[in-house]
Amino acid sequence: MKSEPSGNSIGGTAAGLHAGLHAGRHTCPWTCDYRMKNPPNNGKGWAAAITRRVWAVPVALTVMTAAAAAQQASAHAPHVEARLIASRTAVVPGAPITVGVLLRMEKGWHTYWRNPGDAGMATSIVWKLPAGARADSLRWPVPELIGDPPEVTYAYGDFVVLQSVIHPPSGLAPGSTFTIGCTASWLVCSRICLPGTAELALTLPVHATSAPADSLWKALANTRQCMFPNQAPRTGVTAQLHDSTIALRVPLKEMPVAARAFRVQFFAADEAVIDHSAAQTFAPSPTGLTVSLRLSSFATRPPQRLRGVLEVESSTKERMDTEIDVPIVNVAKK
């Protein structure tokens, strides 16, 4: 499963992305635009939205048409189109396959990350799998900040692919089919919020030994909304609580881009730990990066753990996102 996009390091992918974009000739729109409240989307449809974000425009278009006709189960709900997609066009017995729920939001609407922030609700995906199959936990691409202080949410505008690795049983018979189903539930918000739900199913043929990569998946794989933070274990990352500030320190060797940090954003995975809307200041040093986060006013006792995603971007748009999960040491013990 070498070519599986799941588990990609965004740092690594960013380099690839620049190569793909013939660095300098294009700018990568999702890196540049994603902090906008309403990411550009002219509302002319799915294909148009995708082509803005994927450099391989003709490929993506072809894939869209073929994929939609062939197998992708989709559902239309108010302001959201939901689609179940897979990384491969067939299933191999016993071989893990990544599947994703692609949610495409109408312009100006957004759905939420695992911690929605100050308002909203995390999207939920409940898998329905054939006997003997199991799904790993859901993985969330890096969200964007949406809203204005004092109320800020962690959400996805435009589109997102929420993913799980599915493990099919090894006893599947080649020539048969394998159906992956799920119930996706979300809250979609603009100036108002509406809950939505979709029952999706995707039937894939079972191949004996190999399954070709899905072209739509490939086209989406390098977009911000399809990539995960780097989950490799990090050493030397610390978090210290002093009064009402949490100082997150990341050694340079764990995050080389931090030396040239231009924009830094920490997305907290838990509520009542940091103030989501407070400005986050950062200070690069020769050894690492310190990010200052304001303690949440909803924290009734010192929080024990800092979990979330740290995103660091350089002025040249080199970006790295990394999972953070460290204990918070309270250094202001009275």
Partner: protein, 209 residues
């Protein structure tokens, strides 16, 4: 004589220092008390009656931030959770004020008459529904979401603020399984006990200021 003066000066200095310490401690305590003190406000309800928080001293008061069009609020009204809480605790002498801070033209804003009609249809049973269209009271309390709940004790101190329960969802079925923080806080204070969970992060729709 000289040593007497010295002693006298020393006594005065010690007394002054002690006074300063006590004073500082007192100021600190007052500051903390102020943090918990519910800010006073006056708002008009949908029938034109004025409600001033200071007039309700001596009673337990619940503030509920309300937007009938918010799916999180609908969860608690469709399941009758909110109405049941309102009835249960009003029967025990609690004053329940639902506050609508939606600005005119934004989601959840209705004229007092329209709000009255919706509230009746919903069988809502608060003591009053208060109009806060300029959002002043919502901002004074830092109301972030609908619902966002506050429980105020007879001394005027906020003893609970935050979410209505521990299930951040819009699904009415979750109400049965949820731990209701407002009910827990009210049950404790009505029985003279301190509140175990005094603050949580609220969940819901953003307040449409």
């Amino acid at each position: 004589m000289r040593s007497n003066i010295r002693t006298w000066i020393a006594v005065v200095l010690v007394a002054a220092a002690a006074g300063l310490i006590i004073g500082t401690a007192f100021i600190t305590r007052t500051a903390q008390a102020d943090d918990a003190l519910a800010p006073d406000f006056t708002l008009t309800d949908i029938h034109g009656t004025q409600y001033r928080l200071a007039d309700l001293k001596g009673k337990f008061v619940v503030l509920e931030w309300l937007n009938f069009d918010c799916p999180f609020v609908q969860k608690h009204y469709n399941s009758h959770n909110m109405q049941n809480l309102q009835r249960t605790y009003r029967d025990k002498g609690v004053v329940w004020l639902s506050i609508v801070s939606s600005a005119a033209g934004k989601e959840g804003y209705y004229s007092p008459d329209a709000l009255n009609e919706i509230a009746q249809k919903r069988e809502a049973a608060p003591t009053a529904i208060l109009m806060d269209s300029d959002g002043k009271v919502g901002k004074l309390y830092g109301a972030r979401t609908t619902p966002h709940m506050f429980v105020i004790d007879p001394k005027g101190e906020i003893v609970y603020k935050g979410a209505i329960d521990d299930r951040r969802s819009t699904n009415p079925d979750d109400v049965k399984e949820a731990k209701n923080y407002v009910a827990a806080a009210l049950d404790e204070v009505l029985n003279g006990k301190p509140v175990t969970v005094a603050a949580t992060q609220p969940y819901g729709c953003s307040v449409k200021y």
